[in-house]
Symmetry: C2
Subunit: 232 residues, 2 copies
DNA sequence: TCAAAAGTGTTCAAGATACACCCATGA
DNA sequence: TCATGGGTGTATCTTGAACACTTTTGA
């Protein structure tokens, strides 16, 4: 008889799932990656990326595995958000779900891969109804993202390795749903002293071109650990 | 055949537990309510208040039930903290635990009730080793409490209905582990405009006596919803 | 009358906000 | 040459931080 049986067998067990809220940023807009659910019930309806936790697999591992299986994405910024345990949340049976939220540079998941995986980027304002309590999860994830962005320079996770100031600003504007002043924004960001200015320029969005920046991993880590507070 | 069986039966199921980190505040110190675990394995060792989720019971309901069964406490400020899903976290078998943290005025749980329930208040600095990953949970809960206290006037949950300024200040000093300036503290708190000054004084800790305050539920709610930022 | 805690204002520094013009470039 | 987006500095205001003395009262 296993230890578990010996001690805990009188208690019930539950299906445990993981659902991931995947935020991306593209064309000045904050987006969510969703797909049409591939299994019953509610097959074909819009859903977050989710799946069941397997035996011998931690929650974090399940979240990462499922993300990889459904999107091919790997090494993504991911963090637990909240558990959802209402009895009737899944009409097909009792399932306790642990929601994660993930941030990826939208370019790492292009149109091509999108269609390959049946996934779509949707602007936060154009979100279709999602199954079960997934919309709730998104809302909560967004609140968390806003708070996090205010206390840590987390926004960088959403950008490609090299980015321009106007891009970074547009991202923060998308997160906060507010316009920011160019000069003040630059001042603040540069004061953080985590950016490395490159010689190259990005000319895709203007004739003049905007300087590219990369951010300094080491300084960035220190900043995060020190609990830097970043207010806009 | 049930719907659940029909759809999800190929997936494994897990024991799901709930553990509560209960903070209290007394004698100028932030405290944690713990007890000696009442069942095997690790029976008799120091532990948070936990138990298994039952069929037909939501996570929140389980957290509240367990708290009530083990301490007699009811209508407590409680909030989910984080899930713990490492495979080997419980040596007696796979258990996924959802940690909650709770804030109560320590006076609501006195010496008398303590011994009745085999529970003890322990100062955060004198914490004994706790079973499994419970110490980790406490650490995380404390970090959350600090952050929350900075963004919402949450500290009030830890005080009795009527309290004095010096008490409130001592609480914040305990949470932040830092000394605060009396004058600045009062200024800030009063600027929030959520306190009602009473005519009565509390003379238990000085000859002069300190005015009692109550806080204004309505204004308080508004403040919380508005995402007030409270920095010390 | 004195010990012990409660209560009260002002000054200074830093950080946030508001604001307008020139620059580089390709079409 | 001009339209478009990129880049820059300063003045003002707000907010947080530092700081010391008077008041009340019971023993």
């Amino acid at each position: 008889m296993s230890k578990e049986k010996q001690y805990y067998s009188e208690h019930p067990t539950f299906h445990v799932a993981v659902d991931s809220i995947i935020f991306g940023f593209d064309q000045g807009e904050l987006k969510l990656l969703i797909h049409k659910r591939q299994f019953e019930p509610a097959k074909g309806e819009w859903s977050l990326f989710g799946g069941f936790v397997q035996k011998g697999e931690s929650l974090d591992a399940a979240a990462n595995r499922i993300l990889f299986e459904l999107t091919g994405l790997d090494k993504v910024y991911m963090e637990e958000l909240q558990s959802y345990g209402e009895v009737e949340r899944d009409p097909a049976g009792r399932v306790i779900s642990v929601a994660y939220y993930a941030l990826i540079p939208a370019k790492e998941f292009t149109e091509a891969t999108s269609s390959q995986y049946g996934a779509t980027w949707v602007g936060l304002k154009d979100l279709p109804p999602l199954i079960m309590d997934h919309s709730q999860m998104v809302e909560k994830g967004l609140r968390r993202l806003k708070r996090r962005a205010a206390s840590q320079p987390i926004g960088f996770e959403l950008l490609p390795r090299e980015f321009t100031m106007p891009q970074l600003q547009a991202l923060y504007e998308a997160i906060y749903q507010a316009e920011l002043d160019k000069r003040n924004f630059r001042k603040k960001i540069l004061a953080m002293d985590v950016l490395i200015k490159l010689d190259a320029k990005d000319k895709t969005s203007s004739r003049k071109g905007a300087f590219l920046y990369r951010f300094d991993q080491k300084k960035y880590r220190k900043l995060v650990e020190g609990g830097y507070n970043f207010t806009m």
